[in-house]
Symmetry: C2
Subunit: 518 residues, 2 copies
């Protein structure tokens, strides 16, 4: 007879790139989200919780063009053949909500949202495919006062979660200023060699001449932005190479340059490095850099307004500063851009000391709702990288100490379970976290090992003798934490960190011990 | 020239069966989850947060047998051809975690988990495909003291979130007692007519004779359980019909009966209706019902232990009671089963007055980890239907009043945005939720409409005149809530619920108004 085929046991594993969070990992994050939500709410922002699932159509950017549109997102096809996906950020759902409920929502609509997002990306060390984001956005506010408000709120939030003033800086830049700089070098739009562009400026003519000389087909704004985005990594000299002739990267591979003439590239570098001693000086330099570009001057004016508004409210450049070196997201945003960095140093996994770096960022993006309604709606907002910020607090030891476990009432006599249950009821009613040991009570050592594993401050012991005498043994486990795990009950009883008290004094004695460690 | 094809605009809609939650819908749920977590934590339970995504293999029950294993779950295939899915409850991930980390977790492992779960089911009115669950389970505790503890904790939790004592009842049953009853009617296992079963008891012989007489091929325990599960809906007479000859349902369709002889069916009904005046009396009836079935008597003994333990701790039958009519989940659980019902009456959407009904349930299931490790691990736990419980609190008006919005500082003069920002900064620093109007300030009526929509208690107005005089106008919007939305500034200024105060008394006056409504 053929052997019946056995189904193999399923593997107990988390899917690749996902992880589990235990105990304080959960509660510390929750506590931080609570603190952040309190600040957001105080600023007049309203909570919004969308579902994890969106139509692929509404998410945009990832529309299905092949059988499975799961490039970057987790997507699947519904039975009725609609494609849906897990949200990859909080902004796309906000855009959908702002369009869907535009008749009912207040305008401006200030909303905050916190929760997991999902990315279908290759997981790596410390990079997971589900992680938390915590966003605040104002939809429908054209004024840069809205951007200034987000910056002030970000500052308050960082201090609320425990980042000390001086340990962070919020840097503000503006996409429009960069656009002005690009205009000043003749790149107000992409330049093609064929057909020859109409002359728009002297700078554009010079750029075109260089294209012809170097036999370059196209210089696009996007290429310039892509190279600028590497400023944090390859610094001034690296970006200069990337904007002109190209550069060998660390691996030895050659990265083609954009093909700008050196003086044009230098103007871009000048912009990136134009942060001066004071905001006023920085703004003057920017004014010079954008020459007579209308967009550029508008951008500088916006930055000046932001700096003034923040100054009036007491947020000086020790907290929020104009800094054109903020490049992240410049390609995506349409106006002010901001980024929060933690400036204290940490030692990374390779032993190098470095600044902790970015924990939050945002900016203005005015095409948020337009995709859906055809109508441009101004919006500005930020996203806090919750897990990064938690890591920062752990690195500075502001969180992460082990939480005290519950008081454990041990079980000496199974038949008297009611008595033990009564003890925890009294303890709980007195506000003391506690529990009865509910495993197999036979091996007393296991009960103590359990209390140890739970980081319990106190264990309570009542055998038949104690019950008869109307007393309990109270073991101070913090004092005794390091004691041999296999000690017998008798050995335990002998230790000085164990107290025999009348049954009706149990709660008071336990409280006394716990409070002595607080 | 052919017209370029326009991409149609995406639709701004939530996917079918999903919904968005706004403002207090989010914060009230969050508040309730916090209250529940506090009770769980106080009982010694530890937080666990698993990711939303699990391997289909680990989820079990929904293994892929066709191209797409999305019956009941949202599942998709990873690039490397592994199937993954969104969790459909909190128990399956717990089973996976308990197996995966069994060397590291304390045993017993008390854990709680709260968060959304996803069901790929046909959505209906009030039925969504994403909803919250809030679970607490004890893994590795064989003693029924663990079941009693869950019941006590459930009672404490309901009271903590605002359900008054007397407005709920937790009913406890035991699968083993039902097994005993089935044994007593000769159905200790499925009965087949062919081959004729070995005689195991007189009752089984009688059952077999009836099968032959009625020409029935098979009577299975699962069939009996399925019919019993309808007890809440079709009541005693209905279940009797379903257990014997069958029954016409409301639509006129005929449901086949299980084919039990009438006296066997009556014994099952007797079990379901054996709740008496006192727990002791109920237990006596159950003892009689299971006759000499070892499993049945064990079940009765477990119920007695649970009742005794709870009584000792002060949880009398006014809160937790033995009631064999609890049938939900009897097919799934292996020991004690419990369910919390809210007993106050509400009027349903059809205008009928009825008891609010079940909001939480749970029980003992000992095969949790076995699927993964081959080793049986005892476990017991409960799940609270968070959305149901929120609905109950809303039905009794314990939550759901509209939250006060922020104080709104209106903008009379765009150029003085800094002054307005300074006002909110002062208000916020004084702990008062507030914001500057950040929409287009041109139409003052829109600013007041906005404050109205936000349910703002107070609006602040400072035009050029007021600025010169060093005063502000403070509008009490709660008094003025119903005032015409198109009133002009001048009309507003005339109303008695508007105060002119010196600028440096603004915060004090706003506080006075807000506090007068608290």
């Amino acid at each position: 007879m053929a052997k019946p085929k056995k189904t193999p046991r399923p593997k107990a594993i988390t899917p690749k790139g996902f992880r589990d969070y235990f105990g304080t990992e959960v509660t510390e994050r929750k506590h931080m989200l609570d603190q952040i939500a309190e600040v957001y709410h105080h600023y007049g922002f309203e909570a919004l919780e969308t579902s994890a699932v969106e139509t692929v159509e509404a998410l945009g950017k990832f529309l299905p063009d092949v059988d499975r549109p799961n490039e970057g997102v987790f997507a699947w096809q519904e039975d009725d053949s609609d494609w849906v996906a897990l949200r990859y950020d909080m902004t796309a759902p906000l855009a959908r909500v702002a369009a869907q409920y535009r008749q009912d929502l207040p305008s401006p609509y200030r909303r905050f949202a916190m929760g997991p997002v999902w990315r279908n990306e290759k997981p790596g060390p410390g990079r997971f495919r589900q992680f938390y984001q915590c966003d605040a956005d104002t939809v429908g506010a054209p004024s840069v006062a809205a951007d200034a408000e987000i910056c002030a709120m970000l500052s308050d939030t960082l201090e609320a979660v425990g980042i000390k003033r001086g340990d962070y800086i919020i840097r503000v830049n503006n996409r429009k200023v960069l656009d002005g700089v690009l205009e000043s070098i003749g790149l107000s739009e992409d330049l093609l060699r064929n057909p020859r562009p109409m002359s728009v400026s002297e700078a554009a003519d010079a750029l075109y001449a260089e294209m012809v000389r170097r036999n370059i087909e196209k210089i696009s704004q996007a290429d310039v932005l892509r190279q600028i985005d590497k400023f944090d990594k390859v610094h001034e000299a690296g970006v200069r190479e990337l904007l002109t002739d190209g550069r060998k990267d660390d691996s030895g591979a050659f990265i083609d340059g954009v093909g700008l003439p050196l003086d044009a590239a230098n103007k871009v570098i000048e912009f990136l490095t134009s942060k001066a001693e004071t905001n006023e000086e920085t703004l003057s330099r920017l004014e010079a850099a954008v020459a007579d570009s209308k967009t550029g001057l508008e951008g500088v004016d916006e930055l000046r307004q932001i700096a003034d508004l923040l100054n009036t409210q007491g947020y000086g450049p020790d907290r929020i500063v104009i800094d054109p070196a903020v490049v992240r997201g410049l390609g995506y945003y349409t106006g002010p851009v901001y980024e929060a960095e933690l400036t204290f140093e940490v030692t990374d996994e390779k032993g190098r000391v470095r600044e902790f770096g970015s924990v939050a960022g945002g900016g203005r993006y005015d095409d948020l709702v337009k995709r859906f309604t055809g109508q441009a709606v101004p919006a500005t907002g930020m996203s806090i990288g919750v897990d990064r910020l938690l890591a920062a607090l752990r690195a500075t030891k502001r969180i992460g100490s082990e939480e005290a476990g519950p008081v454990v009432v041990t079980v000496m006599d199974k038949a008297r379970m009611g008595d033990y249950m009564q003890m925890v009821t009294e303890l709980r009613q007195a506000g003391i976290r506690s529990e009865v040991y509910l495993g197999n009570p036979k091996n007393f050592g296991n009960q103590l090992k359990y209390a140890d594993k739970r980081n319990s401050p106190v264990a309570i012991i009542q055998g038949g003798d104690e019950a008869e005498k109307g007393v309990v043994q109270i073991k101070d486990l913090i004092l005794g934490a390091k004691i041999a795990q296999d000690a017998t009950l008798e050995e335990w009883k002998d230790r000085p960190n164990q107290y025999e008290v009348p049954r009706d004094e149990m709660v008071a004695k336990v409280r006394e011990i716990i409070e002595s460690y607080q």
